[in-house]
């Protein structure tokens, strides 16, 4: 069994709390992404799973087995470092076969498994090249292969794609997913890039300031963020969050956004949530889930980013700024006033004080 169970896991460095009481169950064979900005505690969590750091509190279980006191060499996890930690004085072949050789596998087995892995990662022509003369993209593959060849039941990856160039990142996302599907390891993947998490993971755990914010399937986290942090962090761009006050209009309950005026009426579930809210709420909607319509929220366009298939339209100024994403031929230019209508069922409300979803 290679499920990973984190129970009340915490880590303090002197006076600094890197991780606060985290409970998380990663199932056997699951691809879990730990997602959050720099310093959110995701790497610390992973280092504790690998045994590179000792928890200040709580337990880590692999299956039913408590990992306390088990040194990292005997945890049997594969680990891909952010900087790859390639043995630069060795060839690609020596790197790939390192673990097998050190653990005393028979020569023929070392040979066979190294070649198989090289073939899988398309490294065969490079096997006898020295690792210090290879591009970052190749090093990245070698790092993955070097761990994967050991066929670990648990595979940990620490932002493996943050150093490779943008185009190659897309290729590697696909390959990593394939790798995981083929070997069915339990995969824990640390990243600050929500796109990587969304495209690869079975489930994502969003973290901030050492606190686990939400765990769920990517699409669920996207659709129903637990709080404003998750709402803004997931999505590209993140969810628009506008402060306002629930008001009754003749067409039903809506939110008064101040300078931006009153929103279109809320759909039934949101209206019920707004009824319970005391005082201000945060009115959230996804930039992609909008249309241009007469009854929309009116705002001047401050900036238009046309990125390939889509255009990100930046609207408003001061505290009341938001974005909308349209097809790239949207008729909106800087200075125009446009009316943006959020899809009624895609609107989310959050408590203005706590930031929690209502």
């Amino acid at each position: 069994m290679s499920a990973i169970h984190l129970e009340h896991l915490a880590k303090r460095f002197g006076g600094f709390t890197a991780l606060k009481a985290m409970d998380l169950r990663i199932e056997d064979g699951e691809f879990m992404a730990l997602l959050g900005p720099s310093g959110c505690g995701k790497s610390t969590t992973m280092n504790m799973i690998a045994g590179m750091e000792t928890p200040s509190e709580g337990r880590i279980l692999f299956g039913d087995r408590d990992m306390a006191g088990v040194p990292m060499a005997r945890r049997g996890v594969g680990f891909v470092f952010q900087n790859y930690a390639i043995f630069t004085h060795m060839t690609v072949r020596q790197n790939l076969s390192y673990g097998l050789r050190m653990t005393g596998r028979p020569k023929s087995e070392v040979e066979r498994r190294t070649l198989d892995m090289a073939e899988f990662l398309q490294l065969t022509p490079l096997l006898d090249r020295r690792a210090d003369r290879l591009s970052v993209n190749i090093l990245q593959r070698v790092a993955i292969g070097r761990s994967a060849v050991m066929e670990p039941a648990i595979f940990l990856l620490d932002e493996p794609l943050s150093n490779v160039d943008a185009a190659f990142r897309a290729v590697m996302r696909t390959e990593l997913k394939q790798l995981q599907r083929q070997f069915r390891q339990t995969m824990v993947y640390v990243t600050h890039d929500q796109l990587e998490a969304m495209t690869m993971a079975d489930r994502i755990a969003v973290m901030d300031h050492g606190v686990l914010q939400q765990v769920g399937r990517p699409i669920d986290v996207y659709n129903d963020p637990a709080n404003t942090f998750v709402a803004a962090f997931i999505g590209s761009p993140g969810m628009n969050l506008l402060r306002g006050r629930p008001v009754r209009t003749d067409r039903g309950l809506a939110v008064d956004l101040g300078v931006l005026g009153v929103t279109p009426p809320l759909a039934a579930p949101q209206a019920r949530a707004a009824e319970q809210a005391r005082g201000e709420v945060i009115y959230g909607f996804r930039p992609e889930q909008t249309t241009l319509a007469r009854e929309g929220i009116a705002s001047p366009v401050s900036f238009v980013e046309r990125i390939g298939a889509r255009s990100i339209v930046h609207l408003g100024d001061g505290p009341a700024v938001f974005k909308a994403v349209f097809e790239n031929d949207v008729p909106a230019a800087v200075g125009d006033v446009v009316r943006v209508l959020p899809h009624a069922d895609a609107v989310r409300l959050f408590d203005a004080q706590t930031g929690k979803a209502l």
Binding site: F79, G99, M150
Partner: protein
């Protein structure tokens, strides 16, 4: 006429490569002249004197040493000088014992110091202190320590529970041992420092990666740390071999090369010949011979280093 008034050469752009080479030559010219004077001149002077029978008591200044020309006589004497060869052998023996011991001790200490432990800073300061002691003072210190009634015998006596009166510095074998102990005490810290610098330079992520791939501590050292430390190890060894070959000050104060010639190393021998026998032509010949031996050794070490670094 000031520089600014000087007619400027027409701006013919040279190609970058030759431009760089010419500029490099001009910039290093003063330094090259200096090197010429510091290194080449004394060497030629020495070679010249070594071919004569000149001595400072001869009554003429060294440029006129040709008046005492005796060709290669000094060199043929050198080949038959039993005391010289004995001194050379002794020097080699000291080196063969001290350098490996210093290396292994230094390496072990360095490996201890890579990881954090309480009191590391204090231990570190104490460890490198011997290196900072002036060798002459160290010599005097060990001279006192190894007296018959000195602290070393005292300590041994306490440990063994009986009176010990070993005459360390007057026994030919023990005197050599004492001298080696002093050298190891003083120079292990240098090895330690250099090797520690090398060990710290081994990327910790690679060590961790190796651990996670199942390598034992010894395997990690052998496959990851050692290959990266090869160059620095050779440098450390080269420094100590060269330095040890010239071992003099501490030793001379402790034993004066004695008893008899029991601890007379090559440097001590040269010193004796220079200050007492005053046959400088012969001294120059010995010095040149040693220089040749050391140079050959150094070139060999450099070649090894070059291969290790590639």
């Amino acid at each position: 006429m000031t520089l600014a008034d000087a007619p400027l050469a027409p701006p013919v752009p040279p190609t970058p490569a030759e431009d760089g080479a010419r500029l490099g030559f001009r910039l290093t010219l003063p330094a090259q002249v200096l090197v010429l004077f510091i290194a080449v001149f004394p060497l030629l002077m020495q070679l010249y004197i070594s071919l004569t029978d000149w001595s400072p008591l001869a009554g003429v200044a060294w440029p006129r040493a040709w008046e005492f020309w005796n060709g290669f006589a000094n060199y043929s004497d050198l080949a038959q000088d039993g005391r010289l060869w004995a001194a050379l052998g002794r020097t080699a023996l000291v080196m063969a014992v001290c350098v490996p011991v210093e290396f292994l001790l230094g390496l072990s200490l360095a490996m201890l110091f890579v990881d954090e432990f309480p009191g590391k800073r204090v231990a570190y300061s104490i460890l490198i202190m011997p290196m900072m002691v002036v060798p002459a003072v160290a010599g005097y210190m060990f001279f006192m320590l190894f007296q018959s009634g000195g602290p070393v015998n005292g300590l041994l006596g306490t440990l063994l529970g009986r009176d010990i009166a070993v005459a360390w510095l007057s026994d030919p074998t023990l005197a050599l041992v004492a001298v080696m102990i002093a050298d190891i005490w003083q120079w292990t810290p240098l090895m330690f420092l250099i090797l520690l610098a090398g060990l710290v330079g081994v990327p910790q992520d690679q060590m961790r990666a190796a651990t996670l791939l199942g390598a034992s501590a010894w395997q990690r050292f052998r496959t990851i740390a050692l290959p990266r430390m090869k160059t620095i190890m050779i440098i450390a060894l080269a420094i100590r071999v060269i330095e040890n070959f010239k071992i003099f000050d501490t030793l001379y104060i402790m034993t004066g090369g004695g008893p008899g010639v029991a601890t007379e190393t090559i440097s001590v021998y040269i010193y004796e010949v220079t200050t007492q026998d005053l046959i400088w032509g012969y001294v120059a010949a010995i010095a040149l011979a040693i220089l040749v031996i050391l140079s050959v050794a150094a070139v060999w070490a450099m070649k090894r280093m070059g291969r290790a670094a590639a």
